[in-house]
Each structure stands twice: as structure tokens, then as C-alpha cells.
Amino acid sequence: MAALVRPLARRQRGTGDVSDAFQTVWIGVGNGGCRTLTALAETLPDAPAMLAVHARPSSPPPPPNVRELRLFCGPGGVGTGGDPEVGRRAAIAAVDDLRAALAGRHMAVLLAGLGGGTASGAAPAIAALAREQGAFVLAFATLPFFFEGARRRQVAAAALADLLRHCDATVVFPNERICEWIPDGTPVERAFLTVDHMVGASLRTLWKLFSSPSLIHLDFADLRDLAAGSSAPLAMASAEASGVDRDRAVVAELATSPLFDHGALLRSASGVLVGIAGGPDLTLAEVQRVSAAVRDLAPSGARLHVGVTTDPMAEGRLGLTLLLAGPATPAPETAERPAQSVAAPIRSEPAPTGPGRRPVQGTLNLDAENRSKRRFSGVAPTIVDGEDLDVPAFVRRGIRLSQPPAAE
């Protein structure tokens, strides 16, 4: 375990002045994203600045510590009709307000339920804007439930691709997976609440790991490092246990988590961010056992970033959060940001994909596969002799292309 005490994030990103406080803004986009934000705001009194961006007010209204930005869509002004293009345009129309909210922020965290018109269109545009303003951009995105239908799935898949392009790190939560542990017969409303809490809890945990005084600190250089290792979105799950075997219990739970494709994602991860949270009773042996267990589950080449925090209130409990990067994409180029102005998509111009920023070709790997066959996600995979033929043939055949095409 690389037990390093890292310099605090704020010193890395700031102007160099130690007193330059680390500025963050959390932005809920669309009704789903705003609900998640609301759920968070209520439980995290010392949360950073929060902004709810929507095309139509949602109920319940966000608490007073959340600012609201209403997007105006089309001639009627209300709602996107589920069209992401409308959502994107509405965000562009609000570019001044958005810039103001993002000004001076070192980090922007976007919360978005992909599949509708607002979040799917506006979130990638806001991400691009935030980057233009120099912020590190982290997105938490949910993918629709299966029952929501093919159209929403397609919209969400396209939006996710856009988000991946504009964010430094994108964490996805497929709703369907979250709900694998919700009992049958759960009302839809409750299912969404579960998602809100799940996503909220993940962000809260991450926030604690990154911001609170910790024994072993993590910062978003770790996060960026993690995300740069793979072209796929990140997956995240947490577990908590108490009692004698608590270290084994949390590892066992995450090793088979539906959010990690029942463990498959962990076994193929190119990198793992391990967040361990305990009370004053947390022992070094436990920290070591947990990180060793995670290292054993991940492929041998995977990079581990370990962070440990303790909280006097968490006596007796052990929390484990894992953030996984998909399988490595070969010959990753620098995770450098594109030099181009990120305002481009706001003007509906070519998006900054950054030459070679997320290389996609190469050996077969699980997450790349999933992304590559996104188009066919609404129907059963075409399997012949155990091989998933939706995955591009040239990928399965290991054909190397001469070069990743450069933007003109």
C-alpha cells in the first residue's frame, strides 16, 4: 500500500496561496439530479455551494442552501419534452448564469439522471463550461431503469458518451443494478428514492475522503489518474459493517456487488480507489487487511489509491468505498486536457475530444466492450458460440488501426 500523506488538494489547484480555499460547486441537473442534490443537501450541512438546474421545478423544492437555476426551453419555456437537444440549447441560453456559478471553482460535481431531456442535454454542456472555467469536473450519472424503455436508454447512452468526453471523471450508476437489492413490488417512487440515497451516499463518502482531515489523504489527482486509465466510466459502490469480522464483511459485499457487475468489473479494473472510513477504533491491521484483500481481487497490474479517514462519530463501524476504472486502454496517451476552448459545444461546434485523450482501440476488455456495443443495448446481445458479436469484430480480432484519427 502506498501509504502517502499527500499534499492537500487545495494547494495543488489553487493559485499557490495556501489560504486560497478550495472552491467546489455541486450541481444537480434535471429533475433526477436535483432530487439527488436535495437529498444530499438535507444531510450534509457543511456541503459546498449547491445549484439545482432544471427546466421545470421539481417537488420537493430544494432546501434554502441550494440555489436554483431555471432553464427556459423553447417558445413555451416549460420542459424539454424529453429532447436532449432542447436541454442543451436551454443550457447554452443560460450560459451567463452558469459561468457565474462556476467562476473560480476548482471543482464541479455534476449530478444527473440521464435519459430525460434536461440532464442528458444540459449536463454535458455544463461540464464543458466548467472545464472551460478551469475546474476539475466530476460527474455522477444514473442510467435509466429497464422499464423506462428503449428511447430513454438510447438518450442516456448518448449523453453518457458526451459526459465522458467533457468530464475528468464520470461515475455511472445503472439504476437497474442499484435496484437489484430492492425487493419486488417496490413502488417506482421508492425505487428512485433508493437511487437518490445511493448516489447521495456515494458522493458524501467521496467528499469525506477528499475533504476531511484524514490519515491517508486522497485528492483529485488520484481521481484523474484513475479515470485516465480507461475510456470507460467509473463504477462506484460502498459497504459498511460493524463487529469482529467487519473488514472481511465489507470486502465480501463489494466483491460481489451488482454495481460492479457482480465482481467482474473489480476483476478487470485498471485502477481502484479504496476509501476506508472508520471510527477512532479503526486499526492499522484492518486497513492493511482491507487493502490487501482488494489488491488480491483486482488484476495484478491495477493501480491502487488508498485513502483512510476517521470520524469520532463512527465508533464501531467500518466503511469501504471502491471506485473502479475499467480495464486499461492500451498505450494511454497523456491525460492532458485539450488546449482547445471548451466553450465549443456551447456554441454547438465540434466538441473538444482532445486528440488521443481517450484511446479506444486495442485488446478486448469488458468495459470498452460495453461501450462499444452501446447502440445495441436495447436488445439482447447476439451471442454465437459464447462470443458476443455486438462487440466490434476488429476489436475481437485484435486488429490494430494505423492511428487514432486526429481532430481536424
Partner: protein, 406 residues
């Protein structure tokens, strides 16, 4: 002028097509209304968004009606399906005639027994096609009438597909206020339109390369001996390009249509082409050698799958009539060349034959299935179709028991 008209509908993943044809007294067909509209709501030849697909059907029928200047109340429906599978079943009967001679009734009884498909409930029989007979163990008999013996066995090729998907397709067509008179497997329809009698007699393979799925049928010994489909099609070619070259689906489709090739081209080895920006996807220069490598990998794999299917029934060396490619995917440059090499047989791009008045797109390979459907319908009888019992009669036509369909 025309006494009678028939209409056929093909709801594809990329395009929906409808053709209304006049049928003259002599049975010949003249296209009178043609529609070729963009499709939506399907993926891999399966309806994934029912209301949207119903809109598409309405558009297609309305467009054909406008073109033909008449309203239709009935259609014949092409069944495209990504998972058509064959099963050979045998019906056995004891020859009852005291003289020991095989009669028409014995043949019918054996056929009926063979047709009692032992399929799981989620599978529906699309066609049952007569193969051959055996009398007291003597195999390979094409017409046993008048032969004598004790036991008659009749082999039939059953083509089956997913019950729900096929039901949905029929319901979707019917949602446009038309009766679906009958339906037939898209691969078979393509063969009916694009295969010459001589090819059929010599043995041939027809491969319909759609956007969502690929269907094939194999003729050997003058009868249809094998058929099937797979949920891989032109959209996979496009998706592979989009993924590999980081293009939008639209950019990739444009690249495929304008510059695609199933084989690498020497003259393009160092050539790059530019693609315009599409939304969030920037304009790009793309190397054709990369695009062709991607397309070749997919087409090669797909055609090899068909070849393995043909080989599985031992027909690979019995296709003297060669290969015919239909569907929009047949227009990919060098697809025929690649297929010809893989099967070591002559390969052509098939066009619908036997229907007058087709031109432009409608005379191309993508119209084979909908035109074949018309011929299927017309073959039932010149003039108004006889509804009862014709399917069996027709299947016998297709099979060894009757004249090969022309």
C-alpha cells in the same frame, strides 16, 4: 385494366418498404405504388418501440397508397427476424392402402405428422418445407406416389422464430388498419425475387444483408434445405466504424456508404477522407485503410458464420448456382468479391426479378425481400388468393415435392 392488386410490406430496421402491384390475368405483376421510408423503433430487426414502429408502418403504407392512387385493405408481411432457426422433423405413417401403394393421403398424413413441431412455446413455426421421403428405409425419394411399401417417412424443414417478436411484427403491421393475409421469412422472400430457376436447380445460397439482421437460405437438390438468421447487420458495420474511429453513428454511416469497402483497396492505402462535424463530434480526417480494415473484419466474420451454416448441412460444395447477396448491405463495395472468395463460388448482387415497373432504388438489392413477398403472394394463384390450404400447397411447391418455384 388490372383486375386485382396485392400489397407487400417489409418493416426493416433501417427502412420500411411497401409495394402495391397490379396482378394481371396471366398472373404477372406490375408495380403500381412504391414506398421506401426511414424506419425507427427497431433494433436488430426487433421492434423495441412499438408505437414508433407503428408510425413507420403507417407512413410506409400511406406513401405506397399515395403513389398507387388507391387504398389497400390487405398486406402480405415480410418477417425479418434475427433468430430464425431450422429444425428438420420427420413424420412417419404406415401405408394403409391395401395394395401397398403410397397415396396422396399418406403423403398428407406424413407431412402433418412432421409438422407437429416439437418446439418450446416461445417458438413459432414460420414455414414447414417438404424435403424428401423414404419408403421402407429407401431414402432420398422426391416423389413417392405410386411406390409401394409399408412405412412412409417424410422429412420436413421447419423454420421457427420467437413467438412474441413475430406476433408483435404482425400486430404492428395490422395497426395500420390492414389485414395481414400472410407472412413469410425475409430470407425466403429475397430468394424468391432474386434467384433464377437455373440457380435454384444448381444449388445456391441467398444472403440478405439488412441493417439489423442477416438472413440466408440454401437451395440444394432443387429444394430449400436450410435457412436461418442472425442479429448482425449493417448497423454493426456502422457501429464498428463509429467506435473504432470515434465518429458519430451518422458520420460512420456516411463513411460506410460513400467510401466503404469489404476488402482493402490498394489505391486507398494512403488515402484519407474528411467527414463533416456532427453535433458534438468534430470534423475528422479518416484513413480509408482503417475503415476498410474495420469493415472487412465484420463482413468476413458475418459471411464466415453463414458459410459455417451452409457447411453444417453439407451444402458447401453443392452450390453450383453460386451466391446471391441482397439487402442494403449487398451494396457495400466488394462485399460480393469477399463472399465469392469465402465460398469459392460465383457471387452476384441480387435484384428483384419478375415484377415490372421497378426502377431506381426499387430495382436494387434492398427491395428483394418485399418484391419476393409479392411473388410469394401471387404464386398462390393468379387472381384473388385462395385462403384455405394454400400454405401447404405452397410449401410443397418450394420443396422437393413440386416444381421448384420460379
Amino acid at each position: 385494366m388490372a383486375d386485382f392488386h396485392i400489397a407487400a410490406l417489409d418493416i426493416g430496421t433501417a427502412r420500411a418498404r411497401a409495394v402495391i402491384a397490379d396482378q394481371l390475368d396471366d398472373g404477372s405483376l406490375i408495380a403500381r405504388g412504391i414506398a421506401d421510408v426511414a424506419s425507427d423503433g427497431l433494433e436488430k430487426s426487433l421492434i423495441v418501440d412499438f408505437p414508433v414502429a407503428c408510425d413507420v408502418v403507417r407512413n410506409a403504407i400511406a406513401a405506397a397508397e399515395d403513389d398507387a392512387q388507391l387504398k389497400i385493405s390487405d398486406v402480405y408481411l415480410v418477417l425479418s427476424h434475427p433468430d430464425v432457426r431450422p429444425a428438420v422433423q420427420t413424420g412417419t405413417v404406415h401405408i394403409t392402402n391395401p395394395s401397398g401403394e403410397v397415396t396422396e393421403a399418406d403423403i398428407d398424413a406424413a407431412a402433418e405428422a412432421a409438422r407437429q413441431a416439437r418446439l418450446p412455446p416461445d417458438r413459432t413455426v414460420i414455414h414447414s418445407i417438404a424435403q424428401d421421403f423414404s419408403v421402407d428405409g429407401h431414402e432420398g425419394i422426391l416423389d413417392p406416389r405410386g411406390m409401394s411399401g409399408n412405412v412412409l417417412r417424410h422429412r420436413m424443414l421447419i423454420l421457427h422464430g420467437d413467438t412474441t417478436a413475430l406476433d408483435n411484427r404482425v400486430r404492428c403491421a395490422a395497426s395500420a388498419q390492414v389485414n395481414v393475409l400472410d407472412s413469410a421469412f425475409g430470407g425466403l422472400c429475397a430468394a424468391l425475387a432474386a434467384l433464377s430457376p437455373a440457380q435454384k436447380a444448381a444449388g445456391a445460397v441467398v444472403i440478405d444483408l439488412g441493417a439489423g439482421s442477416t438472413s440466408f437460405v440454401v437451395y440444394a437438390n432443387r429444394s430449400l434445405v436450410h435457412a436461418g438468421s442472425l442479429g448482425i447487420g449493417g448497423n454493426h458495420l456502422t457501429n464498428d466504424l463509429a467506435w473504432g474511429l470515434r465518429l458519430s453513428f451518422r458520420q460512420a454511416e456516411q463513411l460506410k456508404l460513400e467510401y466503404g469497402s469489404a476488402l482493402p483497396r490498394a489505391r486507398d492505402e494512403h488515402r484519407s477522407v474528411s467527414l463533416e462535424a456532427d453535433g458534438a463530434f468534430p470534423a475528422r480526417m479518416v484513413r480509408l485503410s482503417d475503415a476498410h480494415a474495420i469493415l472487412h473484419a465484420r463482413m468476413d466474420e458475418l459471411l464466415r458464420w453463414v458459410r459455417s451454416q451452409v457447411d453444417a448441412v453439407g451444402a458447401l460444395h453443392r452450390i453450383g448456382g453460386g451466391l446471391v447477396l441482397t439487402g442494403g448491405g449487398a451494396r457495400l463495395d466488394s462485399a460480393d468479391k469477399l463472399a465469392g472468395r469465402l465460398f469459392n463460388a460465383p457471387c452476384v448482387v441480387g435484384r428483384p426479378a419478375g415484377i415490372a415497373g421497378l426502377s431506381g432504388e426499387a430495382a436494387g438489392p434492398a427491395f428483394a425481400s418485399v418484391c419476393g413477398m409479392l411473388r410469394y403472394a401471387a404464386m398462390q394463384q393468379p387472381g384473388p388468393p385462395r385462403r384455405r390450404g394454400w400454405r401447404r400447397w405452397f410449401d410443397r411447391l418450394l420443396g422437393a415435392n413440386g416444381e421448384p418455384v420460379t
